[in-house]
């Protein structure tokens, strides 16, 4: 550390902050999750249902931020990969193998299918990757609809009821006890990925492929890994949705869901996991509130989205950052005034 250029107070603050590093991050996410769960304990059932859905979409969208937000690869397959996770828990005997192995299996299945798109994505430029994921999504949909002897076709497939510690997970009141900590965990995971060299490589490769290669980054491998991580989270989200609904059907995982997830990522801002979670809650509320408007809902939803993108180009995270920047600037100015005095 350069002792000449940095003040002793600044270095001391840095060192103490770094000592807290391994604890600070997880603690922040855990406390937020706990506060959230306490605040929700008395909420009405419709609110709990919306929050449960928001948790599901938040996990899938967190996965999408790795591929779309960090690596800059536009993926339209995220909802289809949720379907892979959902059908995985629907088709296996959930009541015999237990909840945790079932969720793990859904994560692995999602990661594997998404990894397929990554093998293509590592070799193609941005818009071709978007088309490849569209093809993957359509392929998954066709399999789900046509292999009706296994998947139940367009009627969907029932999911066995599961309970955790005697609490029925199909009830949103108990579902959030599982989902909120999972969202916090996933948000923390993505937060760490973003700060890690892996996340930095993805970001650098998105800005300038050649510069990243010259810096020694294996961008093909990084991109494939990004789709695998993202697919794992989508698989988990799909499994949770299946458990919550007690049912899986192809209509839950269509293009509409894929676009909703993209909107959550854009609205949340690419630079913050918490922003993505907030965006998931807001947009899920908005899309469910619109159900009352029936036919006009599509129009209102589209206009609202357009307005959000126009007014908040940096998303929720952008607003947070601007506020933090203002506060930080004020504190810095106050500090320099103090030092001058």
């Amino acid at each position: 550390m350069s002792s000449i250029t940095r003040s002793a107070a600044y270095r001391g603050w840095r060192r103490r902050a770094q000592g807290l590093q391994p604890v600070r991050g997880p603690l922040g996410f855990a406390v937020t999750a706990a506060v959230f769960m306490v605040a929700l304990s008395g909420a009405p059932d419709t609110t709990l249902m919306t929050i449960s859905l928001a948790c599901v979409y938040a996990i899938a969208a967190l996965g999408l931020t790795v591929v779309f937000g960090l690596a800059g690869m536009l993926s339209l397959a995220q909802a289809a990969i949720m379907a892979v996770g959902g059908y995985t828990v629907a088709l296996i005997a959930l009541d015999t193998i237990g909840l945790l192995p079932a969720l793990l299996l859904a994560v692995v299945a999602g990661a594997a299918v998404s990894g397929l798109s990554g093998v293509v994505g590592a070799r193609t430029k941005s818009h071709y990757f978007a088309l490849a994921t569209l093809a993957l999504a359509e392929g998954v949909r066709l399999v789900l609809v046509n292999e009706s002897s296994v998947t139940g076709g367009s009627n969907g497939h029932p999911v066995a009821l599961v309970s955790l510690l005697g609490l029925q997970l199909a009830d949103p009141r108990y579902f959030i006890l599982l989902a909120v900590p999972l969202v916090a965990g996933c948000a923390y995971l993505v937060h760490c990925l973003r700060k890690s060299r892996f996340g930095l490589s993805l970001k650098a490769a998105a800005a300038d492929e050649y510069m990243a290669k010259a810096a020694g980054v294996a961008i093909d491998r990084s991109r494939t890994l990004a789709t695998i991580v993202s697919g794992g989270l989508a698989g988990l989200a799909g499994a949770l949705l299946a458990i919550l609904n007690g049912y899986v059907g192809p209509q839950d995982f269509g293009l509409g869901a894929a676009v909703l997830l993209l909107l959550i990522v854009v609205f949340g801002g690419a630079s913050s996991s918490m922003g993505t979670v907030v965006a998931a809650v807001v947009l899920t509320y908005a899309s469910r509130g619109m159900l009352d408007l029936a036919e006009a809902s599509g129009l209102v939803y589209g206009l609202a989205t357009l307005l959000l993108l126009l007014l908040l180009p940096g998303g929720v995270a952008g607003v947070g950052k601007a506020v933090a920047g203002r506060l930080g600037g004020r504190i810095r100015r106050a500090r320099t005034r103090q030092e001058e005095a």
């Binding site: 510069m211 290669k213 810096a215």
Partner: protein, 266 residues
């Protein structure tokens, strides 16, 4: 050190490099000049592994052909760009970290079972980042700045620091002085001479004739995809064909400040 033999690059029907052979001696600064479109940057891209080519490229006797670009970095090749692009919200420290795994592999079991060793390694790496900046005359305070807030001349220096982080044996610079002011060019010149003293070999594409004659031990002149001349800069710049091809093509223009049209993107 770097030996390029009978290198050919074709883009579709265009034969961009024809039978180019260049030998760079260890510990020298080797200049690569030529008019716009003569294939200088393409040659660098072939060395870096960004374009397909025929012929052989060896670094310290090890063949680079067929290796992916990031593997060539591991073989001791550092490379900078004329217009480095990086995410605006990335910090300088993050940029320098990109190639960390090429020089030091932090194993998961070190992190899990010997965290103090991992912490020590991270500390050493942070020090290396500061050294890379200070050795180029930049303040280590830049480390925590975001790249979007940094002046273009400093950005080019940081790009060189990024290339130096992976401990290259050969440093390839693509027009490092474009976008730099006179003071920064002067700093770069002295630092390059220092680096040469410490045993680094440099291959540099440069338009600024004064810089080329001052620091290069040897230059190669490319023209139309082939080699026009090679030798010490003062001799080469005397040759009439070189003056015709490179310096004399437009008499109204000072060769030291090429117009914006010469600044091409890669």
């Amino acid at each position: 050190m770097l030996e390029i033999t009978r290198l050919n690059v074709r883009f579709g029907g265009a034969h961009v490099l024809r039978d180019v052979s260049v030998a760079v001696t260890r510990g020298q600064i080797h200049g690569l000049i030529g008019p716009n479109g003569s294939g200088k940057t393409t040659l660098l891209n072939a060395i870096s592994g960004f374009v397909d080519c025929t012929g052989t490229i060896t670094l310290d006797g090890r063949r680079l052909n067929g290796l992916a670009a990031h593997r060539r970095v591991g073989k001791g090749l550092g490379r900078t760009f004329q217009n480095p692009k990086a995410p605006d919200d990335m910090t300088v420290a993050d940029l320098l970290r990109l190639g960390e795994h090429q020089i030091r592999t932090l194993q998961w079991h070190t992190v899990a079972f010997r965290p103090w060793k991992a912490a020590h390694q991270r500390h050493m790496f942070a020090q290396r980042c500061e050294q890379a900046l200070t050795s180029l005359g930049l303040s280590p305070d830049l480390l925590e700045r975001e790249l979007g807030t940094i002046a273009s001349g400093d950005l080019k220096m940081i790009d060189i620091a990024r290339a130096l982080m992976v401990r290259p044996r050969l440093l390839v610079l693509d027009e490092p002085t474009s976008g730099m002011n006179d003071h920064e060019i002067e700093v770069l010149r002295t630092r390059l001479e220092w680096l040469r003293e410490s045993g680094l070999t440099v291959l540099i594409v440069e338009h600024n004739v004064r810089v080329v004659t001052d620091i290069c031990d040897r230059i190669t002149v490319l023209s139309g995809g082939g080699i026009l001349a090679e030798g010490p800069p003062r001799e080469v710049f005397q040759r009439p064909d070189v003056i015709d091809a490179y310096l004399g093509e437009d008499e109204g223009r000072s060769p030291e400040s090429p117009p914006a049209s010469l600044e091409k993107t890669r």
